[in-house]
């Protein structure tokens, strides 16, 4: 039986990397400033245990951090690539999309590209337009990529370990505002959360709310508020966006007959559209209210806090939409 500890989201990820590095000599991590623990401290202490070869400080060369990782993965190592901010991964898109995602297929299965691409995402402390983006939807659109976006510390441990063990490139999205979030996490060295299945974060009868990453927290708060109005929200924390757990979502919608999708990313072209469209295609007959999406307006993220806040998904906005849905 596995014991549990209460640790932070960040510590959970740190443990995941450390455990996998102990377990498998081929695993290594690279990125800027990792030797001092990484920009958010998520690599703290690792260079002391594993040395600077396996916790590698790199030049500011995102394209080559990514491209070299592809090469290193092709020859059998398993790089954990730190992109620091998801926004900077935009300096390495050819390497992610044209190389990492396609090499296995283009080469007819001769080689694998086992790499994890960590992309801390989302709004965090007035970071403005170039340091706040949530671009997970992009990666769901690219064949060859797995996409994960955990919310709980336990998932950040178990999914990151699964991602490191995965033989395909995984876009691994941690939320920057989640680093300090604490929760129960199994101590077990082999605690894995499989890539794919969602997590039922809250059972409810009236509305199925599908979300991921930090928005799970907002949804949970919203559910409490909604409960006061007699609305019982079921929350599905998708945690893996590709593949996503259609089965759990469909089963829930079959029960609640209502669907809401909530994400921090821009609503237009967000991954919520995929979920909404899929449910509309397959479950229109059971729905008693129109599907609702809640994402950010299609605006760059403002620096000034009140303007930035305008773009945030809040529990209040979720509840408002929930009541609207129940009113139909």
């Amino acid at each position: 039986m596995s014991t549990m500890s209460i640790i932070s989201y960040q510590e959970a990820a740190r443990q995941a990397v450390a455990e996998e590095m102990r377990r498998d000599k081929r695993v290594w991590a690279l990125g800027e400033d990792l030797g001092r623990g990484g920009v958010f401290g998520q690599y703290k202490g690792l260079v002391e245990e594993f040395g600077p070869e396996r916790i590698a400080d790199t030049p500011i060369s995102e394209a080559t951090i990514m491209g070299a990782s592809v090469g290193a993965a092709l020859v059998g190592t398993r790089p954990v690539v730190e992109m620091r901010f998801a926004d900077f991964a935009l300096c390495a898109v050819d390497e992610m999309v044209n190389q990492a995602a396609k090499a296995r297929f283009m080469f007819g299965g001769q080689a694998r590209v086992p790499m994890v691409i960590r992309q801390p995402s989302g709004m965090w402390r007035s970071s403005a337009a170039q340091h706040s983006q949530s671009l997970e939807a992009w990666y769901t659109h690219i064949p060859g990529l797995v996409v994960a976006a955990p919310y709980t510390p336990a998932d950040n441990k178990g999914l990151l370990k699964s991602a490191i063990r995965c033989d395909d490139p995984v876009i691994y999205i941690e939320h920057k505002a989640n680093w300090d979030l604490e929760g129960e996490v199994p101590d077990d060295d082999d605690y894995l959360v499989p890539l794919g299945p969602a997590r039922l974060a809250r059972e409810g009868a009236d509305i199925t709310l599908v979300t991921w990453s930090k928005m799970v927290g907002e949804a949970e708060q919203a559910a409490l508020l909604a409960a006061e109005q007699g609305i019982d929200i079921e929350i599905i924390d998708l945690r893996t966006l590709w593949p996503w757990d259609q089965e759990m979502v469909f089963a829930s919608v079959a029960k609640t007959k209502r669907l809401m999708v909530v994400h921090e990313a821009v609503q237009v072209g967000g991954f919520g559209a995929e979920i909404a469209a899929t449910v509309a295609e397959h479950m229109a007959h059971v729905l008693v209210a129109p599907i609702r999406r809640l994402g950010a307006p299609r605006a760059p993220i403002s620096y000034a806090k009140p303007l930035e806040d305008l773009l945030r998904i809040t529990p209040e906005k979720i509840v408002a939409l929930a009541s609207e849905q129940m009113a139909v």
Partner: protein, 338 residues
């Protein structure tokens, strides 16, 4: 690095000019000290990267530019903005995220821009300013204007691909760009040297066909003298040039960074070769009275504490600005959002 002697002696700098340069540096310093404070108190919400210790480069370079000349800068760009003529009041409002900020509070420290004085923008992405600067110069060439564009960036930025691409481009199209590399020893928490192969910035620049210079970037008179020589040549059609300015980042990477990863004695010693101290020493040598120096200092401190207070008191931007200036067609409509 050991303590360096001031090398201003050789430059025969005019005292009045040095006073102006000193004043610019002091205003930058005062601005950043105020910004640092406001960052620590939380009045400024976003990341603040201080150029404390690097002011001589901003001052010495920009003193040689016309208002119509243009610059691009980085996350560590307050000094360049002030030296180019951006109003510190508007800058501080921007840092505070307030109405009247250079960008209406929508950009913050890392996105300050002031097109009226040729400040084409700070940038949150390392090395992203290089292609933009080159493009601004390309535009000038196409329009037949004799503007010079100065592109500031750090020693960490030279390892990103766009650095090479931009320098090559400037050579190929013979553009009027001065690239200024601020060699402050660090890229965030990493020693720049540890991740930089070969002969460094100037060797790379020369291999790409640029005339490359090195200057003591803590010696404002030396920077001024050298740049005074380079800018007219660039304006005259020499093509792009490169300048490495050696300096030291006296503070951490951001205002929140205690910078414990570096040798603390060495870091402390760098305060002795602070460009402000060196310029003040030189001014004294040139006969400026201590009281005159003190007057400059207190004017600067006063100005910046006023702009800081004003910024604190100012209004936040009207909410609808969150949806303004996105794009002409297809932007979200404020009324529909509110």
């Amino acid at each position: 690095m050991s303590r360096q002697a001031t090398s201003t002696d050789g430059h025969n700098i005019d005292r009045d000019r040095l006073v102006d340069l000193y004043r610019t540096m002091r205003r930058i310093r005062a601005f950043e000290e105020a910004a640092e404070k406001a960052s620590i108190t939380g009045q400024v919400g976003g990341a603040v990267h201080l150029s404390i210790g690097q002011e001589a480069i901003a001052a010495g370079v920009c003193a040689n530019l016309r208002q119509t000349d243009q610059i691009t800068t980085t996350h560590r760009g307050h000094g360049h903005c002030i030296a180019k003529g951006t109003d510190p009041g508007a800058m501080m409002l921007e840092l505070f995220g307030k109405e009247g900020g250079t960008c209406g509070g929508k950009g913050g420290s890392m996105h300050i821009a002031d097109f009226e004085v040729g400040m084409l923008g700070a940038n949150g992405v390392v090395a992203a300013g290089l292609p933009i600067a080159v493009g601004a110069a390309h535009g000038a060439k196409l329009m037949g204007e004799d503007r010079v564009v100065v592109c500031f960036f750090g020693d960490g930025a030279i390892n990103r691909g766009p650095f090479m691409e931009a320098l090559n481009w400037a050579t190929v199209f013979k553009l009027s760009v001065l690239f200024v590399c601020e060699q402050n020893g660090f890229a965030s928490t990493t020693h720049s040297d540890a991740v930089t192969g070969g002969g460094g910035a100037n060797a790379r620049a020369e291999s790409l066909g640029l005339e490359a210079h090195t200057v003591d970037g803590n010696d404002v008179a030396a920077v001024d003298a050298l740049v005074a020589d380079l800018i007219p040549r660039i304006r005259g059609g020499s093509g792009p040039m490169f300048l490495s300015a050696n300096t030291y980042r006296l503070k951490g990477h951001t205002s929140m960074d205690p910078a414990l990863y570096r040798d603390q004695d060495q870091a402390a010693a760098q305060w002795d070769v602070d460009p402000l101290i060196r310029a003040a020493d030189e001014l004294r040598r040139l006969g400026l009275a201590d009281s005159d120096l003190a007057a400059i200092d207190s004017a600067a401190t006063g100005e910046m504490s006023r702009v800081s207070e004003a910024a604190d008191a100012a209004d936040t931007p009207a909410l609808e600005h969150a949806f303004a200036d996105i794009q002409d067609v297809g932007a979200p409509v404020w009324e529909a959002q509110s």
